[in-house]
């Protein structure tokens, strides 16, 4: 106990020393005098003292108690109750679906707009989840595919007047092509090296868009892109926002469906094996090249679709929307949510996109809160919000009678 107090005291003194120049000394530039704000030092000291106590207590709880008790209880109690108990699961899903469908009718245009953005990030997160979460290929240039999708709609609409629905598959296909183009040179790379190359690729796409004026209209971007049409209806702005919300919602549902099916398929297992151990994966007869390229191509396709939707939503694209920060946020969604976990990615996307919006009230502090919560997450739950649960096969329920007799022959 005394030891703990000593540690906290040292932390407090250290913090007081570190923050001394900025928190205590204030130069009054008008009168050229120095104001000593000693009371700040006391606040810092007391704050750091108790802060470090709480920090270490949480740490202690995490390493000692949670290991056995809480995690087990949580796992068996909460996660299993949700995932295994179909009744609870279906009720939750029903509530979520009802909420998402009713959402536009009970909120204003601003709410619908940010919710649409959040859902777009759900789709982007799930797309990147294929590459990073399932196949374990650290991709820092994911936004490049998003840009490909957005610019393919912007340019095709600008030059040829093609509509949203015509460009949607084209945007997806183009992004997929770029995914494969990026995939080929990085086949031999892994981990950090792969991250560097994909980062470079993302920047190349952005810089090309920024500087190739004749092609992409440079930093000034392309404006006046058509909003999507829905069955030839004439919609006013708020109606078309609502329609777009439902479109993105539909997209999110389809994506969840697809990723869920993929991750428990032959291809999905191959991705996981690739992530877990590349050499063993090859030795088990998995074609590394094909598996990697499929992951890149599929991940990129979702980004391409969302790019088209993005261009249609904002009716304006310029390279500033496709900076590295975007890639970083999408990656943060995947990591924060839990690699490979669909539910986690959805939750993380909603938190990461909605939280800064709702924190606008504390606009000066919102980035601080955002960053702080990220750091806390990584310290106390490095595996992500919801860790991936692999499918369980129940053999007493599956009937293998037919197959087994076949094999015995």
């Amino acid at each position: 106990m005394l030891n703990e107090l000593k540690k906290s005291l040292i932390t407090a003194v250290w913090f007081m020393f570190l923050t001394f120049p900025i928190m205590v000394i204030k130069v009054n530039t008008v009168y050229n005098t120095i104001v000593w704000r000693w009371h700040n030092l006391i606040y810092i000291g007391v704050g750091a003292f108790f802060g470090s106590m709480i920090w270490r207590w949480l740490h202690y709880k995490k390493t000692h108690i949670s290991e056995r008790n809480i995690r087990e209880r949580l796992k068996n109690g909460l996660q299993n109750a949700i995932v295994d108990n179909k009744k609870v699961l279906y009720t939750l899903i029903a509530v979520a679906v009802a909420f998402t469908f009713a959402f536009p009718h009970m909120s204003n245009a601003y709410q619908i707009n940010i919710m649409t953005t959040a859902l777009m990030y759900v789709v982007l997160g799930l797309g990147l989840n294929i590459v990073v979460g399932l196949a374990g290929l650290l991709d820092l240039g994911y936004v490049a595919f998003y840009a490909v999708g957005a610019y393919s709609y912007a340019l095709l609409n600008h030059h040829f007047g093609l509509g949203f629905w015509a460009v949607l598959p084209i945007g997806g296909a183009l992004a997929m092509m770029f995914g494969i183009i990026l995939g080929f040179p990085v086949l031999r790379l892994r981990g950090d090296y792969l991250a560097i190359v994909t980062l470079g690729f993302g920047e190349i796409i952005r810089l090309v868009l920024e500087n190739w004026n004749a092609f992409s209209f440079g930093p000034s971007g392309i404006s006046g892109i058509d909003r999507p049409s829905f069955f030839g209806l004439t919609l006013n702005l708020s109606q078309s926002m609502t329609a777009l919300y439902y479109l993105v919602l539909g997209f999110a549902v389809i994506t969840i469906f697809c990723v869920n099916r993929l991750q428990n398929s032959r291809i999905g297992r191959a991705w996981l094996a690739l992530r877990e151990d590349e050499i063993a994966c090859q030795a088990m007869g998995i074609d590394k090249t094909k598996t990697k390229l499929t992951a890149f191509a599929l991940g990129a396709t979702w980004a391409g679709f969302m790019g088209v939707v993005f261009a249609a939503k904002t009716t304006f694209v310029n390279p500033a929307s496709f900076t590295f920060l975007e890639s970083a946020i999408i990656l943060a969604i995947v990591v924060l949510g839990g690699m490979g976990s669909i539910l986690g990615v959805i939750l993380a996307a909603l938190i990461l996109i909605l939280l800064p919006e709702y924190l606008r009230a504390f606009s000066e502090l919102r980035m601080l809160i955002f960053g702080g919560s990220m750091v806390l997450m990584m310290v106390f739950r490095p595996q992500g919000l919801i860790s991936n649960v692999r499918r369980k096969y129940l053999f007493d329920k599956m009937n293998f009678g037919g197959e087994k007799t076949n094999e015995a022959k």
Binding site: C258, S265, A270, L272, A273, I279, Q282, M284, R390, E403
Partner: protein, 267 residues
Amino acid sequence: MKQNDQTLPVLEVKGLTMDFGGLRAVDHVDMEIQNGEIVALIGPNGAGKTTFFNCITGIYTPTSGDIIVHTKFGEKRINGKKPNQVTELGLARTFQNIRLFPNMTVLENVMIGRHCRTKAKVIGALLRDPGTRKEEKDAAAVSYGILEKIGLTHLANEMASNLPYGAQRKLEIARALATEPVLLLLDEPAAGMNPQETEELTGLIREIRDQDKIAILLIEHDMKLVMNLSDRIYVMDHGQRIAAGTPMEIKNNPEVIKAYLGEEADA
């Protein structure tokens, strides 16, 4: 269980050589493995056994020599083929330092072995058409059958990383079996096992050979297991094959004794 096609070779290796820069790790090694045979490859540490394995399974491309696999589709030279192509031709392996897929369930680990014997593509995975569904179910059933044989069914839905050491070794064998090999290559399967586990493993390997008619090539340091199990033994030292023969012949071979124990001091 003797078969009449026992004399057909499964694997022929002729003059296999592997250089790493100026170092010759494997030096003109010949080997032939017959159908349904258990062959051991022994030798002191650093003799080049694992390098030899890695050449055969496609992890390294050998400098020279021929590796020929006899499949039901005829003879295939597999030098320079990728590991997954080698596995597809019917050579499956385990690793000296266990290389499971830790964050996948035990059953999924085995199902990975089915990968090269199944065909479902992305479209199939998304649509789950009857063909894909049947394939998935078959893959699960076959994998479960293999786990039954190995005795790991009670752990089927457990994460592979949670398995005890002996079970992990067994799971590696199960995973290799799922690829339907004609030749199973085991790299030190008994390393780190206690005598009882080794005993079990011996039974298991024999069972695999007898029931599934799979030839087995194993690297092993446990001499009791090697002498018990193998039909023939190859001995390597300094990258060269120094002896070959039945366990009895190897036991009394002066070259082998020299390689393991050194020469007598008073020559």
